[in-house]
Amino acid sequence: MQFLFSGLTVGAVYALVGIGFNIIYNATSVINLAQGEFVVIGGLMMWFFTESVKLPFFISIILTISTAGLVGLLMERLTIRPLKKTDLLLMIMITISVSIVLRGLLMFKFGKNSYSYDPFTEGEPISIYGAIIQQQTLWVIGVTALCMVLLFLFFNKTLTGKAMKACSVDSTAARLVGINVSRMVMLSFILSAMVGAIGGIAITPISLMAYDNGPMLAVKGFCAAIMGGLGRGRGAVIGGFLIGILESMTAGYLHSGLKDAVALIILLLVLFFRPSGIFGGSAAARLRKF
């Protein structure tokens, strides 16, 4: 039971990062490898607003999410937009360089220390069937669920969301039916930066945040997204929790030194036998660029 809760804690983090990957992927077919940095921005800016500037909690959250959105917007306008050719590989390389630049800037501002602030609600950890779960973990899971529901509604019920989806399937066709593709791409970067930041805000009281946490988060979140089938919001969430629980179970029943290896082996197996992810339809996968 304890192992399961521990896995849920870790999995929720992976899931939130995974969702961020999916948003941009859905609009552009690009894997944004700076996704981890968005999470770091969320955690560090939240610290900055609450602990350093000493603003109230909710104002800090709004400011942090807006800051991240702005970073996402700038990233798209300054690096993705000016591209003449929309070469996928080139775009992915650009996201890598953006992640390095962001990491540098974050180090400059925050130094190499880890930061943390108080959990959302004070109080003793909750005990269920003899296992312990921290209150903040419940918050993280709740926030993940909320993000998932909101994004589901956005992509399936609103015109803008549907338009964004259309851009991913075929940007030329989307343009032909009158969708402003460039705006949709921009929106997707803003949205995924915001989701990343929300994740960062929620997990920092548990895991602490330092300027260089991004790459590891990106890798694990990417695994979650792949496992659930790229582009599928729910898939990423389930994939994230699955990886988290698997890691924790491995650490608990086999050996803690093996946990990363087992998670990655499972990921490889999924890629070998179900490249579209556990929840991805194979027909949709064939239409994808990669």
């Binding site: 192992f3 220390n113 650490a251």
Partner: protein, 394 residues
């Protein structure tokens, strides 16, 4: 055409002015020049990369000491010049840096590197170049076997000394079964080995041996396993956020058994980050971290106070154990330069035979031809966190 000529003329004037300013500046600088040649020593620190938490305070300390020594007139009239190279936490880069320092800068000795791996990579080079190295890393292999480490010294306490300090304390308090949890980096692995090696001498049984990665965010699984294995205490061996997360998880689980940390725990930042979860955590720390709590009669007290306060004033932070290692290594070389002069062999011999009862930040050093570190478990105080502050345990 005319226009261009004018511009050229202006250009020339600018250059002349620059040259004038330049020569004036050099006059000012040469005004304080010393009669003697500078003593050059090299420093290889992991200023960036994975081990930057070591290299950063080490570099700061080096700059601080260089300024202090030179302001006080240098070493016997020779100014001290410390050439700092960033090894980027990488063995290959450390080797290249050392080569550059030896071959082109012609340094008399090198201090650093920050990590055991990088220090090991420099051993053959230093021996071949017959240049003394005073490492800031902890690994026992750096100075053992001493016969093959003729030119190599180190100032960081042995990991086994920290392990012995913990076990001595445990034995006194009737603990005999421990569970260990360590980070899967060089620091954690070395500590884990030290614990496993020294446990039998103290009659300790290691009932659980768990690990976690440097970026892991939850260790409750490992801790739950340790508890299930019947341990009477947990020892965590790591630096960085991992030790704070373990502390938080230990607190959340209400494990009912004490948590011990390694000597990497010695930063007020950790208490701040872990909050009330850190209450009761015990660790072997060197006296630099707890200088305010030791007796003024302690031979280390005066230098610890001065160093900690000077560092704080200049960098607005604590030097920590690792800044202390840099202080010890440089002061040791400076001491050798002062008493033995600018000769590599004489520096080496001085450090090996004359550094006796020598107070540093890491402890009282007693170098000998048999021991090129000169510290043992007495370098540590067992320190508990109480009311958000350190308290030395008797």
């Amino acid at each position: 055409m005319h226009k261009y000529v004018t511009k050229g003329g202006q250009m020339k004037r600018v250059t002349t002015v620059c040259a004038l300013i330049g020569s004036l500046l050099s006059l000012i600088i040469t005004g304080t020049t010393y009669a003697a040649e500078p003593y050059r020593i090299g420093a290889v620190f992991s200023v960036t990369g994975a081990a930057s938490f070591l290299g950063e305070p080490e570099k700061n300390t080096a700059l601080l000491i260089q300024d202090q020594i030179n302001k006080a007139g240098g070493i016997n009239g020779h100014p001290l010049e410390i050439i700092i190279e960033d090894s980027k936490s990488d063995e290959t880069q450390a080797v290249l840096s050392a080569r550059k320092l030896i071959d082109s800068d012609r340094v008399l000795a090198i201090v650093g590197p920050s990590t055991t791996g990088e220090s090991m990579a420099l051993v053959p080079i230093m021996n071949a170049a017959k240049t003394p190295l005073v490492s800031c890393a902890a690994g026992a292999d750096i100075t053992q076997p001493v016969k093959e480490r003729y030119w190599i010294f180190k100032v960081a306490q042995y990991d086994t000394s920290a392990a012995e300090a913990i076990f001595t304390y445990m034995k006194k308090h009737g603990i005999s079964k421990v569970g260990i949890i360590s980070i899967s980096t060089g620091f954690g692995d070395a500590g884990r080995r030290a614990l496993i090696e020294t446990a039998p001498q103290y009659g300790m049984a290691i009932v659980a041996d768990e690990k976690y990665g440097p970026r892991d965010s939850d260790m409750t699984t490992q801790l739950a396993k340790i508890k299930a294995a019947g341990a009477q205490a947990v020892i965590n061996w790591s630096v960085g956020p991992g030790q704070v997360i373990v502390t938080k998880n230990w607190y959340a689980l209400k494990m009912g058994i004490p948590l011990f940390q390694s000597h990497g725990w010695g930063s007020k930042k950790n208490i701040e980050l872990a909050g009330k979860a850190s209450e009761g955590v015990i660790a072997p720390l060197d006296r630099l971290v707890v200088w305010e709590k030791i007796q003024a009669s302690n031979p280390q007290y005066k230098l610890l106070k001065k160093f900690a306060q000077d560092y704080e004033a200049r960098y607005k932070g604590e030097p920590g154990t690792f800044g202390g290692h840099s202080y010890d290594s440089i002061m040791m070389v400076a001491d050798a330069l002062k008493n033995a002069g600018g000769d590599k062999k004489k520096i080496r011999d001085y450090i090996e035979t004359r550094i006796k009862k020598w107070p540093g930040t890491g402890g009282i050093f007693n170098m000998s031809p048999k021991d090129h570190c000169g510290l043992d478990k007495t370098a540590f105080e067992m320190v508990v966190v109480k009311n958000g502050d350190w308290e030395i345990l008797k």
